[in-house]
Symmetry: C3
Subunit: 328 residues, 3 copies
């Protein structure tokens, strides 16, 4: 399995300086590359790695043309990281092993589900009654798409994904909980990717919605009635509680929690492990995370934190005393 | 698919003011409702939405009778949210499509498992040897109930649930870990609901226990030997470490962590994303969560937090100096 | 099902004081044990429970020989907890019900996968093309091992585990995300245990690696390119972001988050729910966690925390004033 440099630039563009006949056997990080390896330099801070790399060829930005030339073959691309992304897609396409099965015989698909003839359904998936799977969409193994849920075109759902389980709807009554049946479904746009074991609950009355281009990592929980805007991306282990409305082009870091019924504007970026407790109306970068420290230092600071309001009062009192002293 | 208002109050009670022949086509939020929609008002703060709503009928509390009358048909119920919950159940029952399959043929059920004749087992479930599934209980698709685990009556287990995986039991030995086989099982009471991809580990020696009426959301981890009291509810992404004992009528917010071997009294409410590091013996509401802020402000405060104990010492010293000055 | 004390010490060693013919029907905690129960005392702090226990026999350390002798039969072992771990293994072995099925007929195994003849594959598992499963390894039900991923010998993968889903690789382009195909795989060493619904992503270019003896609890997310050193253990709900390199003999508490591209030295211990935001080069115990409090106290302290940097400035100013006053 290999690709010649000439074939790569023919497919993806970019300016090749070097032998188009050179055969590339692997895509590989700069520091691990040998003469049959193709690497990329996404950031000038890796210039030292570039100089030291034994890669057969590197992808660089126009600004680094000179440094790249000093060591051998290179491809100039306006955005090397994007070029590399497309190269991984070309690589996968070229090396794909034929796989004739469109719907794995072990999948359980309800006769009243509608699966586009170009979609692919992996082993041991479940597609329930009334569900719809769009063109070119791929369900890897062991995915559940529940009743009446709709998945758009060119989506990718990884193993263990659960679309359309009941939302967490409960009314308290005499010390127990009465179930609120979840009558909505889930509607997912085009070009959405959903990571392994991630769960997206059906809506209570209306649908839970993921707009086009949303990307969710693994083990994420999306509650009922949530709406996620276009091209928003979330890292692993995020939890979004019910009825939150998240804008387009947002990012949410791993392990963050968004409480229910909140609104996040377009272009809001939440740091990992932060808890969003109020709506955020302005784009920007938001964080709330206890800084890690060695345990002994943490213990002291955490204990003091429980007296923080009192410390502020003492500081205030002291300021007042000092001012009075000065004025007396 | 529709229900007349008359049929609704006949089934659920409540006082109808309006035409019992009016046909309701959907249950829908106030602001989205049209003349064929039935909505409810759970809280007086939505009075403006009530006035503006085009809903064919609304469910209100006795206190709001007057405001509801000003706009059209309404049902008076002592607890509109509870009434609405029961209405969703009625709605689901009335609109259920016939589904003859009690045990899906793709499910793998051990001959030595005992499944009540009224239970339903979904596609691609696994019920292992010695497991017992109670009357009226429903396993949606792709649920695993491991050896000897017992599920009570009228429970609902969502896709991907794992009951009775081994707890995390390890004894350190010469730098490696020796497995402690988990010889207990899981015992789940009646009327328990367990969300998608949630895991409940089997006990080490005795059983992990969920009492009647417990409600767990998606992607929750319950460690071995844990005991959860009646009607306690937990939101998504919660983790409860081994041997914790949680009381009845508690709530745990999304993403919270309860450390191992702790006890929580009945009626304890833990906020989302809080970490319970000590036993809590008094009912009440407990929180520990770093407040979110714009990232620049957070960075300043977080850096200062790492010096907090030192700041307290400086404040103390200053107080002493100031007192001495005053007394001198 | 029972074991005589004599058979136990014959198999596991240790010094028995008492009747070797005594029949043990269960392994059980000290406080719950009856005359047919065998318990252990791992820590002197449980001495009171020892005295009160009705257990037929207890496992104790040499130091507690006298106290144990005061109440009945006992086994002396250098490390009672380790002895107990091995006893659970013996117990499980002795009471194992015969189970003839090596590869469950419902499992979907690609003809180009290689499964060792001594491995066991549970119901509804998926083992994809090019995957390899080592000797003595057990996949419980509903496990996915994706293309080209390698699992070593004597591993145990619990239900719902996903090995080798795509890592979260995305290049931004004109407001949308371009997928970076993940061309690496996952390589897992020997004696690794992986908890229910845990996910381990395949590498982007090279492999994600778990070394020998790693133990992961349930619902853990391991990102692409991560490397975890020998005998490191992680509790439930942990998230490790892409390209993190974690040393050997580390422990990570439940719900902790490790950000991407960080390095943790050997012997680093991270407390539950802490967020690792920087590399840690020295072994030790590290924590970052907001202390839980009753909600009213938390609210006051959290509000003050948002002014903490300002408080420090005010304290500084006051110190300066007071010093000037003293010196004037």
């Amino acid at each position: 399995m290999a690709l010649r440099l000439g074939a790569i630039v023919e497919a993806l563009g970019g300016e090749l300086q070097g032998d188009p006949g050179l055969s590339i056997a692997r895509l590989v990080p700069l520091q691990d590359a040998g003469p049959d390896g193709l690497s990329f330099l996404s950031h000038p801070k890796y210039l030292k790695e570039l100089a030291a790399s034994r890669a057969g060829c590197v992808i660089v930005s126009p600004a680094l043309r000179e440094q790249a030339a000093a060591r051998g073959a290179f491809i100039v691309a306006a955005d090397p990281y994007l070029y590399f992304a497309r190269l991984t897609q070309l690589w996968k396409r070229e090396h794909a092993r034929p796989d004739g099965v469109r719907i794995h015989p072990s999948a359980v698909i309800d006769p009243e589900a509608r699966v586009d003839p170009t979609a692919r359904i992996g082993a041991l998936c479940v597609v329930e009654r009334g569900a719809r799977i769009g063109a070119g969409t791929v369900l890897k193994s062991r995915v559940t798409v529940s009743e009446d849920c709709v998945i758009g075109a060119r989506c990718l759902l990884h193993p263990g994904v659960v679309i359309g389980a009941d939302g967490f709807g409960l009314a308290p009554h005499e010390g127990a909980w009465v179930k609120i049946e979840q009558l909505g479904a889930v509607r997912i746009g085009d070009d959405v990717e959903i990571g392994a074991n991630t769960c997206i609950d059906r809506g209570a009355l209306e649908d839970t919605v993921l707009e086009d281009g949303v990307k969710l990592d693994n083990l994420i929980q999306i509650g009922h009635n949530v709406r996620i805007g276009k091209h928003t991306a979330m890292a692993g282990c995020v939890g979004v509680a019910g009825s939150a409305v998240i804008g387009a082009h947002c990012t949410v870091g791993g392990g963050a929690i968004v409480l229910g019924h909140l609104a996040l504007a377009d272009g809001v970026h939440i740091s990992a492990a932060s808890v969003v407790t109020r709506s955020i109306h302005k784009p920007g970068h938001y964080t709330g995370m206890f800084p890690i420290d060695d345990n002994a230092a943490w213990e002291k600071n955490a204990a003091t934190l429980k007296q923080l309001h009192g410390l502020r009062e003492r500081l205030k009192a002291l300021e007042k005393t000092t001012m009075q002293d000065k004025n007396s």
